[in-house]
Protein backbone atom coordinates (compact mmCIF):
# COMPACT_ATOMS: atom_id res chain seq x y z
CA UNK A 1 0.00 0.00 0.00
CA UNK A 2 1.47 3.28 -1.19
CA UNK A 3 0.72 5.50 1.76
CA UNK A 4 2.05 3.05 4.35
CA UNK A 5 5.09 2.29 2.19
CA UNK A 6 6.14 5.88 2.80
CA UNK A 7 6.39 5.23 6.51
CA UNK A 8 8.38 2.03 6.11
CA UNK A 9 10.82 3.73 3.71
CA UNK A 10 11.42 6.49 6.27
CA UNK A 11 11.64 3.91 9.04
CA UNK A 12 14.35 2.02 7.11
CA UNK A 13 16.29 5.28 6.83
CA UNK A 14 15.83 5.95 10.54
CA UNK A 15 17.27 2.58 11.47
CA UNK A 16 20.15 2.95 8.98
CA UNK A 17 21.04 6.39 10.34
CA UNK A 18 20.79 5.16 13.90
CA UNK A 19 23.19 2.31 13.17
CA UNK A 20 25.53 4.80 11.51
CA UNK A 21 25.41 6.96 14.64
CA UNK A 22 26.13 3.86 16.74
CA UNK A 23 29.17 2.91 14.66
CA UNK A 24 30.43 6.51 14.78
CA UNK A 25 29.96 6.63 18.56
CA UNK A 26 31.91 3.38 18.88
CA UNK A 27 34.72 4.94 16.83
CA UNK A 28 34.75 8.01 19.08
CA UNK A 29 34.65 5.93 22.25
CA UNK A 30 37.53 3.75 21.09
CA UNK A 31 39.72 6.54 19.77
CA UNK A 32 42.44 5.61 22.29
CA UNK A 33 41.90 1.83 22.48
CA UNK A 34 45.20 0.09 21.90
CA UNK A 35 44.18 -3.40 22.95
CA UNK A 36 41.39 -5.53 21.47
CA UNK A 37 40.41 -9.22 21.66
CA UNK A 38 41.76 -9.83 18.16
CA UNK A 39 45.04 -8.18 19.10
CA UNK A 40 46.31 -4.82 17.90
CA UNK A 41 44.57 -1.46 18.21
CA UNK A 42 40.89 -0.78 17.54
CA UNK A 43 40.16 -0.36 13.84
CA UNK A 44 37.91 2.47 12.72
CA UNK A 45 34.61 1.22 11.23
CA UNK A 46 32.58 2.69 8.43
CA UNK A 47 29.04 1.91 7.28
CA UNK A 48 27.95 1.17 3.71
CA UNK A 49 24.44 2.24 2.70
CA UNK A 50 22.61 0.95 -0.33
CA UNK A 51 19.15 1.44 -1.74
CA UNK A 52 16.73 -1.40 -2.49
CA UNK A 53 15.61 -1.42 -6.08
CA UNK A 54 12.87 -3.95 -6.58
CA UNK A 55 11.95 -5.02 -10.10
CA UNK A 56 8.46 -4.09 -11.43
CA UNK A 57 7.43 -7.75 -11.17
CA UNK A 58 8.48 -7.97 -7.57
CA UNK A 59 6.84 -4.71 -6.58
CA UNK A 60 3.51 -5.89 -8.05
CA UNK A 61 3.97 -9.21 -6.28
CA UNK A 62 4.61 -7.35 -3.03
CA UNK A 63 1.55 -5.20 -3.55
CA UNK A 64 -0.74 -8.21 -4.05
CA UNK A 65 0.08 -9.59 -0.67
CA UNK A 66 2.28 -8.47 2.10
CA UNK A 67 5.47 -10.46 1.93
CA UNK A 68 7.44 -8.32 4.30
CA UNK A 69 9.83 -7.14 1.59
CA UNK A 70 11.10 -3.59 1.91
CA UNK A 71 9.42 -1.25 -0.58
CA UNK A 72 11.45 0.18 -3.46
CA UNK A 73 13.59 3.11 -2.29
CA UNK A 74 14.31 1.81 1.21
CA UNK A 75 17.79 2.17 2.62
CA UNK A 76 19.76 -0.79 3.88
CA UNK A 77 22.96 -0.90 5.82
CA UNK A 78 24.69 -3.57 3.75
CA UNK A 79 28.07 -3.69 5.41
CA UNK A 80 30.26 -2.33 8.16
CA UNK A 81 33.80 -2.14 6.82
CA UNK A 82 37.15 -1.52 8.46
CA UNK A 83 38.99 1.66 7.58
CA UNK A 84 42.19 0.52 5.77
CA UNK A 85 44.21 3.45 7.15
CA UNK A 86 47.28 2.21 9.07
CA UNK A 87 47.40 2.76 12.86
CA UNK A 88 49.25 5.73 14.29
CA UNK A 89 52.51 4.79 16.09
CA UNK A 90 53.51 6.66 19.23
CA UNK A 91 56.69 6.20 21.26
CA UNK A 92 55.60 5.12 24.75
CA UNK A 93 58.08 2.60 26.15
CA UNK A 94 56.27 2.35 29.50
CA UNK A 95 52.99 1.23 27.94
CA UNK A 96 52.23 -2.52 28.35
CA UNK A 97 51.03 -2.62 24.71
CA UNK A 98 54.35 -1.26 23.40
CA UNK A 99 56.33 -3.41 20.94
CA UNK A 100 60.01 -4.22 21.50
CA UNK A 101 61.09 -0.83 20.10
CA UNK A 102 58.80 1.01 22.54
CA UNK A 103 56.13 2.03 19.99
CA UNK A 104 52.40 1.73 20.71
CA UNK A 105 49.91 1.51 17.86
CA UNK A 106 46.91 3.82 18.30
CA UNK A 107 43.75 3.72 16.14
CA UNK A 108 43.77 6.20 13.27
CA UNK A 109 40.70 8.11 14.42
CA UNK A 110 40.16 11.83 13.98
CA UNK A 111 37.57 13.04 16.53
CA UNK A 112 36.56 15.94 14.25
CA UNK A 113 35.71 13.60 11.38
CA UNK A 114 33.67 11.46 13.74
CA UNK A 115 31.82 14.45 15.20
CA UNK A 116 30.93 15.71 11.72
CA UNK A 117 29.73 12.22 10.79
CA UNK A 118 27.66 12.05 13.96
CA UNK A 119 26.07 15.43 13.29
CA UNK A 120 25.31 14.45 9.73
CA UNK A 121 23.65 11.22 10.93
CA UNK A 122 21.58 13.18 13.47
CA UNK A 123 20.40 15.66 10.85
CA UNK A 124 19.42 12.88 8.45
CA UNK A 125 17.58 11.16 11.29
CA UNK A 126 15.63 14.35 12.02
CA UNK A 127 14.85 14.78 8.33
CA UNK A 128 13.37 11.29 8.10
CA UNK A 129 11.49 11.69 11.36
CA UNK A 130 9.77 14.75 9.93
CA UNK A 131 9.02 12.78 6.75
CA UNK A 132 7.24 10.18 8.90
CA UNK A 133 5.19 12.96 10.50
CA UNK A 134 4.21 14.22 7.07
CA UNK A 135 3.10 10.72 6.03
CA UNK A 136 1.15 10.35 9.25
CA UNK A 137 -0.66 13.60 8.63
CA UNK A 138 -1.61 12.50 5.13
CA UNK A 139 -3.05 9.25 6.47
CA UNK A 140 -5.02 11.13 9.11
CA UNK A 141 -6.38 13.48 6.47
CA UNK A 142 -7.62 10.61 4.34
CA UNK A 143 -9.30 9.09 7.38
CA UNK A 144 -11.08 12.44 7.70
CA UNK A 145 -13.00 11.66 4.48
CA UNK A 146 -14.89 9.06 6.51
CA UNK A 147 -16.15 11.73 8.87
CA UNK A 148 -18.10 13.51 6.11
CA UNK A 149 -21.75 13.54 7.03
Amino acid sequence: MGIFDMMSISASALSAERQRAEVTSANLANAETTHTDSGGPFVRKEVVFSTTNTSPFQSVFNRLGSFGDAPSGSVRLTDVIDDPAPPVRKYEPGNPDADKNGYVEYPNINPITEMVDLMSATRSYQLNASAINAAKQMILESIDILKTT
Binding site: G73, S120, L127, N128, Q137
Partner: protein, 113 residues
Amino acid sequence: MATTPLLQVLQGFLQVSTDRQQLVTANMANVDTPGYHTKDINFQTAMQQVMDQGELRLQPASMSVDNLPERPDGNNVNIDRESMMMSETQLQYQMGVQLIKEEFHELLSAIKD
Protein backbone atom coordinates in the same frame (compact mmCIF):
# COMPACT_ATOMS: atom_id res chain seq x y z
CA MET B 1 -15.75 2.48 -9.72
CA ALA B 2 -16.38 5.87 -8.29
CA THR B 3 -19.87 7.32 -7.91
CA THR B 4 -19.26 10.43 -10.00
CA PRO B 5 -16.69 11.21 -12.71
CA LEU B 6 -15.17 13.93 -10.52
CA LEU B 7 -14.60 11.45 -7.71
CA GLN B 8 -12.86 9.18 -10.21
CA VAL B 9 -10.49 11.99 -11.20
CA LEU B 10 -9.89 12.99 -7.57
CA GLN B 11 -9.13 9.40 -6.65
CA GLY B 12 -6.53 9.34 -9.41
CA PHE B 13 -5.13 12.66 -8.22
CA LEU B 14 -4.71 11.35 -4.67
CA GLN B 15 -3.02 8.23 -6.05
CA VAL B 16 -0.53 10.33 -8.03
CA SER B 17 0.12 12.60 -5.03
CA THR B 18 0.78 9.55 -2.86
CA ASP B 19 3.17 8.14 -5.49
CA ARG B 20 5.02 11.44 -5.66
CA GLN B 21 5.20 11.70 -1.89
CA GLN B 22 6.59 8.17 -1.77
CA LEU B 23 9.33 9.11 -4.22
CA VAL B 24 10.15 12.25 -2.19
CA THR B 25 10.30 10.09 0.95
CA ALA B 26 12.63 7.66 -0.82
CA ASN B 27 14.83 10.56 -1.92
CA MET B 28 15.00 11.82 1.66
CA ALA B 29 15.76 8.34 2.95
CA ASN B 30 18.64 7.97 0.48
CA VAL B 31 20.26 11.30 1.27
CA ASP B 32 23.43 9.45 2.37
CA THR B 33 23.41 6.59 -0.14
CA PRO B 34 26.35 6.88 -2.54
CA GLY B 35 25.39 6.93 -6.22
CA TYR B 36 21.69 7.52 -5.59
CA HIS B 37 19.91 9.80 -8.05
CA THR B 38 16.87 11.91 -7.19
CA LYS B 39 13.62 10.45 -8.51
CA ASP B 40 10.51 12.34 -9.43
CA ILE B 41 7.20 11.76 -11.13
CA ASN B 42 5.98 13.15 -14.42
CA PHE B 43 2.57 14.40 -13.34
CA GLN B 44 0.95 14.24 -16.77
CA THR B 45 2.11 10.70 -17.57
CA ALA B 46 1.30 9.47 -14.08
CA MET B 47 -2.20 10.98 -14.15
CA GLN B 48 -2.84 9.43 -17.56
CA GLN B 49 -1.58 6.08 -16.32
CA VAL B 50 -3.85 6.19 -13.28
CA MET B 51 -6.91 7.29 -15.25
CA ASP B 52 -6.41 4.58 -17.87
CA GLN B 53 -8.44 1.79 -16.31
CA GLY B 54 -7.52 -1.00 -18.71
CA GLU B 55 -3.79 -0.76 -18.11
CA LEU B 56 -2.12 -2.81 -15.41
CA ARG B 57 -0.05 -0.37 -13.39
CA LEU B 58 3.29 -1.96 -12.64
CA GLN B 59 5.06 1.01 -11.12
CA PRO B 60 4.36 4.72 -10.93
CA ALA B 61 5.85 6.60 -13.88
CA SER B 62 9.03 7.69 -12.16
CA MET B 63 12.06 9.27 -13.76
CA SER B 64 15.39 10.30 -12.40
CA VAL B 65 16.25 13.99 -12.14
CA ASP B 66 19.70 14.59 -13.59
CA ASN B 67 20.03 18.37 -13.67
CA LEU B 68 20.88 18.65 -9.97
CA PRO B 69 24.50 19.13 -8.88
CA GLU B 70 26.10 15.83 -7.95
CA ARG B 71 28.20 15.34 -4.83
CA PRO B 72 31.57 13.59 -5.08
CA ASP B 73 29.96 10.29 -4.02
CA GLY B 74 27.58 10.39 -7.00
CA ASN B 75 24.52 11.33 -4.95
CA ASN B 76 22.47 14.29 -6.16
CA VAL B 77 19.76 14.56 -3.48
CA ASN B 78 19.08 18.17 -2.53
CA ILE B 79 17.42 18.35 0.89
CA ASP B 80 15.93 21.81 0.29
CA ARG B 81 14.31 20.66 -2.91
CA GLU B 82 12.91 17.56 -1.25
CA SER B 83 11.56 19.49 1.74
CA MET B 84 9.84 21.89 -0.58
CA MET B 85 8.41 19.07 -2.69
CA MET B 86 7.19 17.34 0.45
CA SER B 87 5.25 20.40 1.67
CA GLU B 88 3.94 20.99 -1.83
CA THR B 89 2.70 17.43 -2.27
CA GLN B 90 1.21 17.43 1.20
CA LEU B 91 -0.82 20.55 0.38
CA GLN B 92 -1.90 19.04 -2.95
CA TYR B 93 -3.05 15.92 -1.15
CA GLN B 94 -4.92 18.03 1.40
CA MET B 95 -6.64 19.86 -1.44
CA GLY B 96 -7.65 16.55 -3.04
CA VAL B 97 -9.10 15.31 0.25
CA GLN B 98 -11.05 18.55 0.76
CA LEU B 99 -12.46 18.33 -2.76
CA ILE B 100 -13.53 14.71 -2.17
CA LYS B 101 -15.23 15.73 1.08
CA GLU B 102 -17.00 18.54 -0.74
CA GLU B 103 -18.15 16.13 -3.44
CA PHE B 104 -19.53 13.72 -0.87
CA HIS B 105 -21.23 16.61 0.87
CA GLU B 106 -22.96 17.57 -2.34
CA LEU B 107 -24.00 13.98 -2.99
CA LEU B 108 -25.40 13.75 0.50
CA SER B 109 -27.42 16.94 0.15
CA ALA B 110 -28.78 15.66 -3.18
CA ILE B 111 -29.93 12.48 -1.39
CA LYS B 112 -31.41 14.34 1.56
CA ASP B 113 -33.24 17.16 -0.22
